[in-house]
């Protein structure tokens, strides 16, 4: 079983490496959105600092959402997704593997680049550490929930915009917890509760969302 899941993971990573621009576009989007914020609200360092957790989280969330359309659509178009339904493994696990690959390609780079942007917004070292930690726990949730939306919009006209409408409301809890964690550190409070809840949410999403996504894939390919 792990052999075929590993084969799928390797396939998706190989494909991403052969077309690195897809992953880089997402990171580029993240950087540009964050860079535009000061232009909209002014350069006052203290003010930017106080807005930074929210800005960084919303930008990361939009970047992940933007990348979601590609999660299944390539495989849908060339028929490999159809063949995946015939693979003698539970579809939920295959979908989870693909989502994990997607997170490695898009979510993880966001986590890694975030300190750079955080410095631009005048966050201090301990806040940056918390930001990375929160993003590390939070971006998988975004990818997992997003996979449901990606599956539900397979083959639809204007799928990208529809994903936003379907998925963004569901992103409220991780956004509140993730940005809240950084905010807590900024105000000298403990972010323990935020991180625990974020972790719990990730575990829940890890077990629950693949089945919903698998059901959605089956329905859209029926």
């Amino acid at each position: 079983m792990f052999r075929s899941l590993f084969a799928l993971l390797r396939r998706d990573l190989t494909l991403a490496l052969r077309r690195p621009q897809d992953a880089l576009t997402v990171v580029g989007f993240f950087v540009v959105v964050v860079a535009l914020f000061p232009l909209g609200i002014g350069p006052d360092p203290e003010f930017l600092r106080s807005l930074a957790p929210g800005v960084l989280w919303v930008a990361a969330l939009l970047a992940v959402m933007l990348s979601l359309e590609r999660l299944f659509s390539d495989d849908y178009r060339d028929g490999t997704l159809e063949q995946m339904l015939l693979v003698p493994e539970p579809l939920g696990l295959l979908v989870l593997t693909k989502t994990f690959a997607h997170w490695l390609i898009t979510g993880l780079p966001l986590v890694l680049i975030s300190p750079l942007l955080a410095v631009q917004l005048n966050l201090r070292a301990d806040e940056i550490v918390m930001l990375m930690l929160a993003l590390l726990l939070g971006t998988p949730i975004l990818s997992l929930i997003g996979s449901i939306g990606a599956a539900l919009t397979l083959g639809l006209r204007g799928g990208g915009v529809l994903i936003a409408l379907l998925i963004l409301p569901l992103y409220a809890p991780p956004l509140i917890l993730g940005a809240g964690a950084v905010d807590a550190v900024m105000h000298g409070a403990s972010a323990q509760a935020h991180l625990s809840l974020l972790g719990a949410m990730m575990v829940f999403a890890l077990f629950a969302t693949p089945w919903a996504t698998a059901a959605a894939v089956r329905i859209m390919l029926d």
Partner: protein, 249 residues
């Protein structure tokens, strides 16, 4: 036992539903009007002004019932959607689809009245109060459901896909609600929550109850009427539709 399952089957058969709903809708509509008139009279004339908020609190009589209906209908919609998806019962799919616009309307009214209420209470139309924020997200969930349903051409696939979305949504509603609640307390939200009527006199409570019933009756009437139309559309090739339509014209 077997007799009962036959009964159930009869009710879920589209033709029987169409006839039964056709007979019920006028009654529910009449009840809506009567209860609404009574509730408005009690709420606007009989009930005393609130000692703290004056007359502005009266908007509660619309705000609270619509907010309750908005939340309840989402759960109901998800239950019907799940039944339709799992047991492939067409009537359940139709009910889920028919509930969505009414639920969205109720949620929208709750938000609108909440904003109107906010003006005299806080001096602004919108406050990021926990309940208003959760209601706003609920409205987005409704809109997503309807948008997905509309985006898929194949009727069966549309029902199934939006059913998955409704089920995912209903699992998320409590999570969203509690996280918003938590976010609000952390950020020192408004000191008066919109739905807290400071002291609830009996007459206020009775009025609220009547208005809630009116919202119920309205929802039932409208959902049944909408479901009837959907049944006609889906079954337009069936012989019973032809019979009914010829009889009506």
């Amino acid at each position: 036992m077997s007799e009962r399952s036959i009964q159930w089957f009869r009710f879920t058969a589209p033709a029987n539903f169409y006839d039964l709903a056709g007979r019920l809708v006028p009654w529910f509509a009449a009840l809506t009007v009567a209860l609404f008139a009574a509730g408005l009279y009690l709420g606007l004339v009989v009930a005393p002004p609130d000692y703290q908020q004056g007359d502005s609190y009266r908007i509660m009589y619309i705000h609270v019932p619509t907010a309750w209906m908005g939340m309840f209908l989402y759960v109901l919609m998800a239950i019907y959607a799940a039944i339709g998806l799992i047991w492939r019962i067409k009537m359940a799919e139709i009910m889920a689809k028919a509930i969505a616009p009414t639920g969205a309307l109720m949620t929208f009214f709750a938000l609108w009245t909440g904003a109107l209420w906010g003006r005299p209470t806080w001096g602004v139309f919108w406050v990021w109060d926990a309940r208003l924020t959760s209601m706003l997200i609920l409205l987005f969930l409704y809109l997503g459901y309807m948008a997905l349903h509309a985006a898929i051409d194949d009727r069966q696939r549309a029902s199934n896909a939006s059913a998955v979305l409704a089920m995912v949504g209903v699992v998320n509603v409590p999570i969203i609600y509690f996280s918003v609640q938590w976010w609000n307390t952390l950020h020192q939200g408004a000191s008066i929550t919109v739905t807290d009527a400071p002291t609830m006199a009996t007459i206020m409570f009775v009025t609220l109850l009547i208005m809630t019933l009116a919202a119920w009756m309205y929802s039932i009437a409208v959902v049944l009427a909408r479901a009837r139309i959907e049944v006609l559309e889906r079954e337009r090739k069936a012989s019973w539709v032809k019979e009914r339509l010829e009889a009506e014209t």
